[in-house]
């Protein structure tokens, strides 16, 4: 069965013609025969992007500012815990940040509104009422849990928040990241002396973890130039705040931010040339068709 041509015979020429790459026709070649067009459809690294260093550094700002957000939050909690700031001060500060932020959001939003203003007002009322009503309960929640456990849980949850944050599409906040951050904030807030402290802490958690990423995303979309300044402001605030509470921590944070912002992009760009991906007709098919014409 099959061709009797041995390994020394001429591969292409045969009485019936050249070799065809089909399996349904009986050909006088062995089953594993290949000709000179073998692997000519192989492509290497067709999807490798050429990163430019400073562009990558600019994008890394998002990650850095998120880390700084966490640092800012911990600073605020630490201040309240040590009694340096009263809850009323924080509450007024929260109002002072929220209202301009909302105004900025509206200004940048323009004509397209996905939610009417009344819905926003309703949401805000629900948040405030709920948080205020539950803050006495939340305050006594971790009374039977040891402090170390509470700190450990909060640390794990904040780490989970950073890891699961949707950096590519931060505008509707991801479920797991937001929930982890809120859980950590409830744990930490329950260690504070009074119910009003808890309320203030939760309000700030909402501002920092839920509303700020939306505003930042809107800024990036509408006013590209302001993004690096905003990120830089947040990083500076984080480092400064941590420095006021724990100087060692500030040093660590600044080191981490530098590594994140400067060293990691360098690594990414340098390692690109070691990439070796092969592509060919054997890959899984990807549908590139635009299906939006079916959605009217």
């Amino acid at each position: 069965m099959g061709a009797n041509s041995g390994p020394g015979a001429s591969p292409c020429a045969s009485p019936v013609g050249p070799w065809r790459k089909v399996l349904y026709a009986r050909q006088p070649f062995p089953d594993n025969h290949v000709d000179r067009r073998f692997l000519e459809e192989l492509r290497r690294n067709i999807r490798v992007r050429q990163y430019r260093y400073w562009a990558v550094v600019r994008e890394t700002g998002l990650v850095a500012q998120q880390v700084s957000c966490v640092a800012v939050f911990i600073t605020l909690w630490s201040c309240m815990d040590q009694g340096r700031l009263g809850p009323s001060v924080l509450l007024w500060a929260a109002t002072g940040c929220a209202l301009p932020g909302y105004g900025l959001y509206e200004m940048l939003g323009g004509k397209d509104r996905e939610r009417p203003r009344l819905a926003d007002l309703q949401s805000a009322a629900v948040f405030l009422a709920f948080t205020f009503g539950f803050s006495p309960v939340l305050k006594t929640l971790t009374e039977s849990v040891s402090t170390d456990t509470v700190y450990a849980m909060s640390a794990v949850m904040l780490l989970a928040h950073l890891l699961s944050f949707p950096y590519t599409q931060p505008s509707p906040p991801g479920s797991l990241s937001l929930n982890a951050a809120l859980f950590a904030s409830v744990c930490l807030a329950s260690r504070l002396p009074g119910a009003l402290h808890t309320f203030a802490m939760l309000s700030w958690a909402l501002l920092v973890f839920a509303l700020w990423p939306c505003l930042l995303h809107r800024l990036r979309e509408r006013a590209e130039w302001s993004f690096p300044w905003a990120a830089g402001l947040v990083c500076a605030g984080g480092v400064g705040g941590l420095g006021a509470v724990w100087p060692g921590g500030a040093l660590l944070l600044s080191l981490a931010l530098l590594v994140l912002t400067l060293a990691c992009p360098l690594l990414l760009v340098c390692l690109q040339r070691h990439k070796d991906n092969i592509h060919g007709p054997w890959d899984e098919a990807e549908i590139r068709e635009d299906l939006s014409r079916f959605l009217s």
């Binding site: 949401s123 629900v126 948040f127 709920f130 948080t131 539950f134 309960v137 939340l138 929640l141 971790t142 039977s144 849990v145 509707p172 906040p173 991801g174 479920s175 797991l176 937001l178 929930n179 809120l182 859980f183 409830v186 744990c187 909402l206 839920a210």
Partner: protein, 539 residues
């Protein structure tokens, strides 16, 4: 061809006469049931046979002749041969025996259309005969297991046919030697009929009780009474016993073996139950035991805790404590109705006293169940997933900001309150399980007393031949030239088979769930009802 003759041991020393029995159809075997002695009138023999055949539905026939010459009796051989013409049959057996010798001699005369071969003495070369001796009384009273409800004439095996024939031939064994009739027979009862006068008298006396029991039964069938009584084990036990009275004391005679055994089992177990109950009564009313019991119960029920329910309970008990002794005195009298009744009353008392534990258990279980349900749903929200009810699976879902916020807050609250609720639930569940186990043990004891087939076990131990599983054969006499003699002995039924077969069906309570299901239910906080009552089968 081998001819098997089943010969009763009581006829081994019978005087000469005619053999009465039955040919097993299609099996080449014959069962000898009795011997009719000389002198007799053939017409009377035939009349008697046809009468007995009508009464017993067994097709009796004269099988042949039996000759055991006593001193001075000679020359019966020719007489015996002529008898074969009077009682025509396809085969005629001529059995003879000499005093002092163990073996029988047998000749088979075949009455065919063609003239038979001249019987020259000695057996027909083609016929080999085996005599199987059996104890007629034991085989008659025995029941071969496994029991088949067959119509006569269609027995599936030869052994079954033999047992059936002997058992059905009761009317044949009614004539004994003291009867002044024209015929003289020898069979197992010919030395005197057994009679049980006591049974007859008691049957008449008990008929009156039946009327009273019927009234009670009518009352128990009204709906509200039925609902409450289905919850209390005392009433369940009473209804069960009433059913049994109806079965036992009905005037209809038991038609089949199983019915008879059931009646007998129920009667004997009832008697034992009553006697145990009377024993308990005699112990209880001696030496002030009632007041001691009352004190213990009062003390037990005072040592419970928890809140406002406890306070109510304590007041109630304090109110009742002077009356408890009197109540217990009268309730203890109910033990006269049987030990099972007393145990049922105990079970009900325990249930009433621990009612508050049951209440707490229900509260704790419901709270815990709600909490677990809420936690699992909110955990799915935490991870950004949702339960798809249509597809019965977990899907991803993009929640709104307010849903996420409130969901996380609630999740945190439920999570931190979980240890407290779980602990309360654990404590109440353990208490409830202890009570349930105790009640279960009591019910198992009641069930054992109710369903244990005492009569069948007694029968198996004392009269083991009544319940037969099969037979075994022993060689009596094996000499060349004479037919083989075997002794057939009855193999009694194994004790485990007796228990399994004759257990009275009861409303037994058995666990509803397997262990795995039970653990799962406990973990999820569902209410557990561990015992399920089987309803009695109505005949």
């Amino acid at each position: 061809m081998v001819l098997k003759i089943f010969f009763p041991t009581c006829c081994n020393t019978a005087d000469s006469g005619l053999l009465i029995g039955r040919w097993i159809p299609g099996q080449d075997s014959a069962v000898v049931l009795a011997v009719i002695h000389y002198p007799f009138i053939p017409g009377q023999v035939k009349k008697y046979l046809s009468e007995t055949q009508n009464q017993s539905q067994v097709d009796l026939a004269v099988l042949g002749s039996w000759s055991l010459p006593k001193d001075g009796q000679e020359g019966m051989d020719s007489f015996l041969k002529d008898l074969s013409t009077i009682f025509p049959n396809s085969r005629w057996l001529q059995l003879s025996r000499e005093i002092g010798k163990r073996g029988f001699a047998c000749q088979v005369v075949h009455n065919r259309i063609t003239p038979p071969d001249p019987a020259q003495g000695g057996t027909d070369k083609k016929d080999q005969i085996i005599f199987i001796h059996y104890d007629q009384r034991k085989v008659m009273l025995s029941q071969l297991h496994p029991i088949h409800e067959e119509s006569p004439g269609e027995e599936s095996s030869e052994l079954r046919a033999v047992f059936h024939t002997v058992a059905q031939s009761g009317p044949l064994f009614l004539l004994d030697r003291y009867d002044e009739g024209p015929l003289k027979l020898t069979h197992w009862q010919s030395e005197g009929r057994e009679a049980s006068i006591v049974v007859e008298l008691s049957k008449q006396a008990v008929f009156l009780c039946l009327c009273m029991i019927a009234c009670v039964f009518v009352i128990l069938n009204i709906w509200p009474v039925q609902f409450i009584s289905s919850k209390m084990s005392t009433c369940v036990q009473t209804a069960y016993r009433t059913n049994h009275f109806q079965t036992v004391f009905s005037t209809k005679k038991a038609t089949s073996h199983m019915e008879f055994m059931r009646k007998a089992n129920i009667f004997v177990s009832f008697l034992v139950d009553m006697s145990l109950g009377l024993l308990l009564v005699s112990w209880l009313y001696r030496e002030n035991h009632i007041s001691q019991l009352a004190n213990t119960l009062v003390k037990l029920s005072l040592y419970r805790f928890f809140l406002y329910h406890i306070h109510l309970w304590i007041s109630y008990i304090r109110l009742m404590s002077p009356f408890i002794e009197m109540i217990l005195w009268y309730v203890g009298l109910s033990a006269c109705l049987g030990l099972t009744f007393a145990l049922s009353v105990l079970s009900d008392i325990v249930a009433l006293l621990t009612f508050h534990i049951y209440c707490f258990y229900v509260y704790g279980a419901r709270l815990y169940c709600l909490k677990v349900y809420g936690l699992s749903s909110l955990w799915r929200l935490f991870c950004g997933k949702k339960w798809n009810v249509l597809r019965q699976r977990v899907d991803s879902c993009s929640y709104d900001l307010d849903q996420l916020f409130i969901g996380t807050l609630l999740f945190t609250i439920l999570l931190f309150l979980l240890p407290t609720t779980a602990l309360y639930y654990l404590v109440f569940t353990l208490l409830r399980l202890v009570v349930v186990m105790f009640q279960g043990v009591i019910h198992l004891a009641i069930d054992l007393i109710n369903s244990f087939p005492l009569f069948a076990m007694g029968l198996r131990l004392c009269r083991s031949y009544r319940l037969a599983e099969g037979v075994k054969f022993r060689v009596l006499c094996e000499e060349p030239g004479t037919p083989l003699h075997l002794m057939m002995e009855i193999n009694p039924l194994k004790c485990s088979s007796v228990l399994q077969r004759y257990r009275t069906p009861t409303y037994s309570c058995y666990p509803r769930d397997s262990w795995v299901d039970l653990c799962k239910k406990l973990f999820m906080g569902e209410l557990i009802y561990p015992w399920k009552h089987k309803t009695t089968k109505t005949d």
